[in-house]
Amino acid sequence: MAVRKTETRIPTGLVASDLGESFVAADGRCALVSFITSPLVVNRENPYVVFVTDAGLAAQAQSFEWSFSENGGTATTQTTEVGEAVYSPQGTGSLSASVRILDGTSTEQASLSLTQAMVPLHPGLEAMIDAAKDDTGPSVSDPDVARELVNDYNIYYQAVSPPTPETGDAFQQFVFSLLFEGASKRTLAERKQLIEDLAGALDSADNDDFVNQTAEGVGVCNIRLPLLAMMPSSGAPLLPWTELPQPAAQNEYADQQLRQKFAALDEATLIDCFNLARFPKSNITQCAYIIGALRDHYFAGTNFNDVLTGMSGTRAFWIAMHFRQGPLITT
């Protein structure tokens, strides 16, 4: 199988490291991206994706041979038809993850590798989870989600910043709340399945299927792709600003029309939006950008501390609603 369309291009204006921990080939023809940035955590699944951005290499590539070696030991190998594999570390120490891009005769055309550390579950979080068992007050509401976020995406959500500098960490709190909500809404397996389905629809250029799949938010923050296209973090909007009615039935209909407009964009744009939402690092970054843009649009001049605490949190409520279902008509 040739390289899937979704792995032929890094989103415009970004580099591989904007998507996750990465290694780019010296000749720039391909890049390996790890969803999680080292250290990985024992028994936690980490997806790897190979981008083959060179058309010639992409035409030659027929399969991908992956090998994962822990602490210099015997490597676990697997071959995939598409440029994606998943590995769960078995012990602590050092992991060497590598992939060979093979042609139709299983001859290596390129290879990429990453060295990553493997560590136990975050001890601070585990202590909190243990302590919460006997707590009567606020506690760790969903240990599995907390483990995913803290162990896998910590440095991603710690890095977000508001569009204009402000004191305090209200913006980070807000983004984290949406991230937590997104991760709680669908399991990792469900999110992964949706990404697979979207990649399949893009690869087969099945427009109807793609429109249907985009009804759901994508990735760990549950970002709706048309919303992302309306508010790209760089460059001009890919879709015109379109507000949707609030009543559920009208909203659903308007959203479907919006998704059809989105699906009619050129293929490269769709792939870029898909990849931005696909990788946790860029997903969280884009979520933060959209939250900032929604604040600027609806509550310009209000800092995020006021968004969260002023007016009993009404502004935060509305920004979250715009993020989930909108942007919404508010008059």
């Binding site: 955590v41 120490g93 493997m118 975050h122 601070g124 979080l125 606020p138 969260l308 409520f317």
Partner: protein, 412 residues
């Protein structure tokens, strides 16, 4: 549409958000566990059973019990993730130990000057850049102080600190001599000379830039009602105490540190990370901190085997700066402090560090995570004069036992 809820952000969720990222450290029993164990076991050896009379202006008469420790095992080219600390975020009066911050500031200034274009025509622009840096980064309490009767200014007096000769920039000979005496002899007059020329504004700015001081935090985790935690210097070790801020063990004061930040400062100098871009200046700084110091009136580490000790240190001291000074307006009793780089050197177990490295890297495939055997250490707030003749034994016991058990990964 009715309002249902704001995004979920209960206290527990925010506590989760604030957890630091996972470290690259493989699973080991943390050094913190051993430090907690031995700082409890040997508490009677470093906290006097009967404290001396304290001056009435101290904020907490029980603060003498908060003897602070920080231990940071080092790798060859980086810090390790095995840091441990007790009362390590208490901002305490730490007397002459804080002179290391002056050394740091001087090094930063020299490195910045070396990186700037040379020539008299560029002197004004460099001075202006430093002024902008101070305006941007110095603590407002330092920037807005009244300097009219202070021998120390806000800005550096450049021509008395730096000289340009051909294509090189160096400290002036007089400044260099005083810098050396400030560290090697812990001379107060030499310290005043250096501080008067560097200026409080520049010292504050560079301490803030490298996060050795945080103006948003309280002076200690248990102290409220004021802000400012870390290394703070607004006195010149002569007669000037320009800005006093609150601290844990003393009345509002001007020569303050937490062991966490002082330990970090020592580690960064040792690892050639300060100044970042000037290895020659780093070498100069390290040479002044090196042990044994030589020359007239040189200081001797508090933990030196040459002092009357009842316990043999299981380490050699590679670098050191000591501190001692009196509390309160009455300036007594005295608190002792010390920052060190030590090399683990247990004669009974010469391969302890190698043994630990095998635990964390049993295949010897990842040498960059190995410990080098060096540790950055800082302790402070010790009433050593009230602990008898072998008054540093308690500190040594804590270091010896905590580090030895950690390297052996003994059951706690």
């Amino acid at each position: 549409m009715c309002k249902t809820t704001t995004p979920p952000r209960p206290a527990a969720q925010d506590a989760i958000r604030k957890l630091p990222p996972n470290t690259n450290a493989p699973a080991v029993i943390p050094l913190q566990s051993y430090l907690a164990k031995y700082s409890t076991q040997f508490v009677n050896d470093f906290v006097p059973a009967t404290p001396p009379a304290f001056p009435p202006d101290l904020p907490d008469p029980l603060a003498y019990k908060r003897v602070a420790f920080s231990l940071l095992p080092l790798r060859a080219n980086a810090v390790s993730p095995y840091y441990a600390g007790i009362f390590d975020d208490d901002t305490d009066f730490s007397a002459s130990l804080v002179k290391v911050a002056v050394l740091f500031a001087a090094g930063q200034l020299l490195a910045a000057a070396k990186a700037a274009p040379l020539g008299a025509a560029n002197a004004a622009s460099f001075n202006n850049a430093v002024k902008v840096e101070i305006t941007a980064n110095a603590d407002p309490r330092v920037r807005n102080a009244n300097y009219s009767s202070s021998p120390v200014g806000l800005l550096p007096k450049m021509s008395t600190i730096l000289q340009v000769s051909g294509s090189s920039v160096t400290f002036t000979p007089t400044f260099n001599t005083n810098l050396s005496q400030m560290i090697v002899r812990s001379s107060d007059s030499a310290s005043a000379f250096c501080i008067n020329r560097l200026g409080y504004g520049y010292i504050s700015a560079v301490l803030n830039e490298k996060n050795f001081f945080d103006s948003t935090l309280t002076p200690g985790p248990t102290m409220t009602g004021a802000t400012g935690r870390g290394i703070w210097l607004t006195a010149n070790y002569a007669s000037d105490f320009l800005v006093r801020i609150r601290c844990v063990n003393d009345h509002p004061d001007s020569q303050l540190a937490t062991t966490r930040q002082m330990c970090r400062l020592f580690s960064m100098i040792r690892l050639k990370q300060l100044p970042e871009t000037d290895i020659d200046t780093n070498t100069l700084m390290q040479s002044l901190l090196n042990e044994p110091k030589t020359g007239p009136e040189h200081t001797t580490p508090w933990l030196s085997p040459n002092r009357p000790l009842g316990v043999t240190p299981l380490f050699t001291i590679l670098q050191d700066k000591i501190g001692v000074g009196g509390l309160g307006a009455a300036r007594k009793p005295s608190v002792y402090s010390e920052g060190l780089i030590i090399k683990w050197n247990n004669p009974d177990k010469p391969s302890q560090v190698d043994g630990f490295n095998k635990i964390i890297d049993h295949e010897n495939s990842n040498p960059n995570i190995h410990l080098s055997g060096e540790f950055a250490v800082c302790w402070q707030n010790l009433l050593a004069d009230d602990l008898g003749a072998t008054n540093f034994d308690g500190i040594i016991e804590v270091l010896n036992n905590s580090i030895s058990d950690f390297l052996d990964q003994k059951a706690v």
